[in-house]
Amino acid sequence: MADLRRLGKKGSYRLGSLAGGRLGGAPSPRSPRRLGQLGRAPHGPTLGPPRAQVQFGWWLAVVVAGVVVIAVTAEFGLWFVPFLAGLVIGLAAPRAGWRLRHTVPAVLVMAAAGWGAPLLWQAVRGAPAGATARVVAALAGLPPHAMIGVVFTLLIAALQAGVGLWLGHAVIGGSRSR
């Protein structure tokens, strides 16, 4: 039977839902039972909309929001926001029922698109973004190709986001183990 606190709530009759918020599947043998929570029925009925579509919708919405935040804050020189975005995703992922196969692509796309959008905007406005990308690559000591400049820049954003995600996961994992 599902968590009594979820009675009447959306998705509360989802097959295999756990109090810990995991998205389906058998309970992890290492997941501790919390006081007041019922164990998860291994094969309960699903009466809500298809799980995959809802999750993708949320996923996409979160990613788009992240892209917007990263892109806008980049204009103000807040270069560390990709890291924060990854950290937030890492911290919130367990509650949202997101797994690594959802969070990793999310933060990587968020970061790359978040920094890619201002570059694209420059190009659309007629600035020589490609030539500037080549300059950035050359000044960074890399082969002077536009794609390398762009990729290097987006990698910095993605690296921040990935590390932030790792930290978020680690914090949540550490707090749950106490």
Binding site: A71, T73, A74, E75, F76, G77, L78, W79, F80, F83, G114, W115, G116, A117, P118, L119, Q122, G126, A127, P128, A129, A131, T132, R134, V135, V136, A137, A138, L139, A140, G141, P143, P144, F152, T153, I156, A157, L159, Q160, V163, G164, W166, L167, H169, A170, V171, G173, G174
Partner: protein, 867 residues
């Protein structure tokens, strides 16, 4: 979690603060505000109105499609302010780097790797000299007003960029932004140019040679008067008036008067005054200082001959007018050292090339005269071995008394490291450059305050040779041969600058610093090398020794980078006897790649090969055949050019290496000066004279063991070595050994980023051709600007054309970054922007594709943009 937290902390810290030389990449690569914002500066310039707070009146700036600027203002103040604004708009990164170089602030930007450069520059004293020059410049003088206005213009642009955030990428990546510009910084850049053209280490080199080869052999092979045939532009007769006095502390760079600061202490025992050969201590000091300097970036001190300039008049020129051509040979970089512009104001109307960071046109013309310049190459730096005592720290002995050295303290900021303190010691002669073995100070004419800008402003307003000469009387350094032509059909040359003279001692060696060997004065201006309307109607300077052997003053030795005269010989050979020359004639000469030395030596080589005992190998026969059919042109498709050039290097090595080895010449101290692979000018001249028969062959052909060799024997041996070298390096038949496979030109980016330069690209020419390619087989030194000005004999307006290998915008993303290279490479010239009196078709920026900026006085709008 600990690992994740640690990695996060390290990553964020590195991205925020950088690590060592790695800049803070987080902010630098931020897509919205980092280096990417430099894209705005890479956009093609468009016509627009801009607010420039410092202006008094509106100024018009027009650009040709190629980016050549014409600035028109109603006051001199506004024309120089606008020039500063335009320079900063397109070359702010270059200007900032140059002033950092002169001020000893490179390590602040680039890290510990540049610390030795900063320490050298702070010791040498470009900043102290610039500060003194500014202190001595009356604010109300034309130069003072120009410097102040110019600095204001630069700062107005910096303010606009700061408001927009569109910094050049180099600033954004490094996260170090330019400080406000001051007149001192313009003078520092003047000092950097002076150092690059005028500071040499010749006495230190002679000390090394004398210590190893011995005095007799050194002076025989590195004589004061070169051994080969020269072409001085001032052959005499010469005057010999008394020297112009120069204060003993003129070049000390001390913040205050050295004399007043001296302590009146009791004289100690007088040291010996008899001059002797360099001691071991002096040799140690010389070697240490040479080694330090040799590790500095190439081009910082003067090592290469630079530039061509010539003029013709009367029947030599079509229409009996006058014509002038100039091509200064300098490091060819991107961006270029030059920014082409025309400046027009009621009191100032000139067109030519400017130096970003400095107001004024350095090479160019006005409505009445044209001028260009070449480096004189005279010895302007003397080194003094100061007499010191362990019992008298911070003191030196001079003119009968012990004196205190003055001290100036600096703190050098180092990116990624702790600040480094530096104390510079000054004597009456100048800054102490080393104390290894012997305390050695340098007395360099570039440290004597020089009113160069005032001289240039006077030149820009001159309308005849008398005014031209008078304006240059205040020019002290770097010594330059100023070539002249005017609308009335006159031509001339005056070598302006300080030629230091000593009453006692050999100035090409380190001298005792006790006083007897001090600089006694300088050559009086009236007696400096000069010529006016020569009877042959042509005059040319290509850095050759400007005067003949009978000139009564000391100008330097054969080792002072006077050109070996091959270019001058070729230029005079072309010009003399011609009549009715046109601009095309001068352009053909500027593009000449005929190797004058090859014309002298190759016949001797062929004769030696034909007479050599023993057969030649098949490749040697083929190479010989190439030479026999060769026209001495160093073209990219010529295999004979490769054979010749490689042979000459092996010939020098074959002749002198046995002596270098036997004498243990310390080439490692300064390879550029001491190594045979750098083909020292003196030795090239010696070998030319010995081979051509001008003088009897030297004992150099005889080996140290005493075994006799003749010039033909050594040539035969060197030829075989050269063919073997080329076969190994290039393979295939000798006919495939084309010069373009060996020789290239490369124009590096000033940022040091290899991908932002041009080339390397197979190139014609060599170090001795008129179209010079200097600095080795991958040449980065050569004609940095080519200009031809023609004054028609009818008194009409001059026609002016020029081109340089680069572009007006330092932003590599800009279409004006390297757009002029193709024209330069192909030998095409562009019309120079006209002066106010110029006629149509002179590139005033009013034709199709012209872009106009209207600069108006007033505060910056909230959202200023140049896009």
């Amino acid at each position: 979690m600990v690992a994740a937290a640690a990695v996060s902390a390290v990553l964020l810290w590195v991205l925020a603060a950088g690590f060592g030389p790695i800049p803070p990449l987080g902010a630098a690569l931020d897509a919205g505000s980092g280096a990417w914002t430099s894209a705005a500066g890479g956009r093609p310039a468009t016509s627009q109105t801009l607010r420039v707070p410092g202006l008094q009146h509106p100024v018009s700036v027009s650009y040709t499609a190629q980016g050549i600027a014409s600035i028109r203002a109603v006051t001199d103040h506004d024309v120089f302010l606008a020039l500063g604004y335009v320079h900063a708009s397109f070359r702010l990164g270059e200007m900032d780097e140059e002033r950092r170089l002169g001020e000893g602030r490179l390590a602040q930007l680039a890290g510990p790797s540049d610390l030795p450069v900063d320490e050298f520059e702070l010791r040498l004293g470009l900043l102290r000299t610039a500060q003194r020059e500014w202190a001595e410049t009356p604010r109300s003088s034309p130069a003072g007003q120009a410097l102040l206005a110019y600095a204001q213009g630069v700062n107005d642009d910096i303010a606009r960029v700061r408001a927009d955030g569109d910094w050049p990428a180099a600033f954004s990546l490094a996260r170090v932004y330019p400080a406000p510009w001051t007149p001192v910084e313009s003078l520092v850049i003047q000092g950097v140019l002076t150092e690059e053209l005028d500071f040499t280490t010749t006495p230190l080199v002679y000390a090394m040679l004398e210590k190893s080869l011995g005095l007799a052999r050194t002076m025989a092979w590195f004589p004061v008067i070169p051994a080969n045939t020269q072409s001085p532009y001032d052959p005499g007769p010469y005057q010999h008036p008394a020297l112009t006095p120069l204060a003993p502390d003129a070049a000390s760079t001390a913040p205050g008067p050295v004399g007043a600061g001296l302590s009146a202490e009791a004289a100690g025992p007088a040291p010996g005054t008899a001059r002797s050969a360099p001691s071991a201590a002096v040799a140690t000091a010389a070697g240490t200082l040479l080694a330090q300097i040799s590790r500095l970036p190439s081009g910082l001190v003067h090592r290469e001959p630079d530039s061509n300039a010539w003029a013709a008049n009367g029947p030599a020129v079509a229409g009996n007018g006058a014509m002038l051509a100039g091509d200064p040979h300098l490091p060819q970089t991107l961006p270029s050292i030059w920014y082409e512009a025309a400046l027009s104001a009621p009191g100032f109307d000139t067109s030519g090339v400017t130096v970003p960071g400095v107001p004024g046109v350095l090479i160019g013309h006005n409505a009445h005269i044209a001028w260009s310049l070449t480096d004189t190459q005279n010895q302007a730096a003397l080194f003094y071995a100061e007499q010191t005592s362990a019992s008298r720290p911070d003191q030196y002995y001079w003119r009968g008394a012990w004196r205190r050295t003055q001290k100036v303290h600096y703190t050098i900021d180092v990116r990624g490291g702790a600040p480094v303190p530096l104390t510079v010691y000054l004597t009456v002669h100048g800054p102490i450059m080393t104390q290894a073995g012997q305390t050695m100070a340098v007395d360099w004419m570039g440290n004597v305050p020089s009113a160069d800008l005032g001289a240039l402003l006077g030149v820009a307003e001159a309308s005849n040779f008398g005014q031209f000469k008078a304006a240059l009387a205040s020019w002290h350094a770097p010594t330059q041969n100023f070539v002249y032509a005017d609308a009335r059909g006159h031509i001339g040359v005056i070598s302006a600058g300080y030629y230091p003279q000593v009453a006692h001692g050999d100035p090409w060696l380190p001298l005792p610093g006790t006083g007897a060997d001090d600089i006694d004065g300088v050559i009086p201006y009236s007696a400096e090398p000069q010529v006016y309307d020569p009877p042959g109607h042509v005059v040319a300077t290509a850095n050759q020794r400007p005067v003949g052997p009978s000139y009564p003053y000391y100008v330097g030795t054969s080792a002072d980078f006077f050109d070996n005269s091959f270019r001058a010989n070729e230029i005079y050979s072309y010009l003399r006897g011609r009549s009715g020359m046109t601009s095309a004639s001068f352009a053909a000469l500027q593009g000449s790649v005929t190797d004058n030395l090859a014309g002298v030596i190759v016949p001797k080589l062929l004769a030696a090969l034909r007479q050599a005992p023993g057969p030649l190998t098949a490749p040697e026969r083929a190479a010989m055949s190439l030479l026999a059919r060769w026209n001495d042109a160093m073209t990219t498709g010529s295999a004979a050019a490769s054979v010749w050039w490689t042979f000459w290097g092996d010939y020098i090595s074959a002749a002198f290496q046995p002596w270098w080895t036997a004498a243990h010449v310390p080439v490692g101290k300064d390879p550029a000066a001491l190594s045979l692979s750098s083909w020292p000018t003196s030795l090239t001249e010696d070998l030319t004279a010995w081979t051509s028969g001008k003088v009897p062959p030297s004992a150099a052909f005889t080996l140290p063991s005493g075994a006799h060799r003749s010039a033909p024997q050594v040539m035969r041996s060197a030829f075989g070595t050269a063919v073997a070298h080329l076969a190994l390096q290039l393979g295939g038949a000798p006919g495939s050994w084309t010069w373009g496979r060996l020789h290239t030109r490369y124009f590096p980016s000033l940022t040091g980023a290899s991908g932002l330069g041009y080339g390397p690209r197979a190139s014609r020419g060599d170090a001795w051709t008129v179209d010079a390619a200097e600095g080795g087989l991958e040449s980065s030194i050569g004609p940095s600007w080519r200009m031809i000005i023609r004054f028609p004999g009818s008194g009409g307006s001059p026609t002016a054309e020029g081109v340089y290998p680069g572009g007006q915008n330092e932003n590599p993303a800009s279409p004006w970054y390297a757009n002029l290279i193709t024209d330069w490479w192909d030998g095409r010239y562009l019309p120079m922007p006209g002066t106010a009196g110029a006629g149509p078709g002179t590139g005033t920026g009013t034709g199709a594709g012209a872009i106009h900026w209207t600069l108006r006085p007033g505060a910056l709008p909230l959202a200023a943009s140049r896009g």
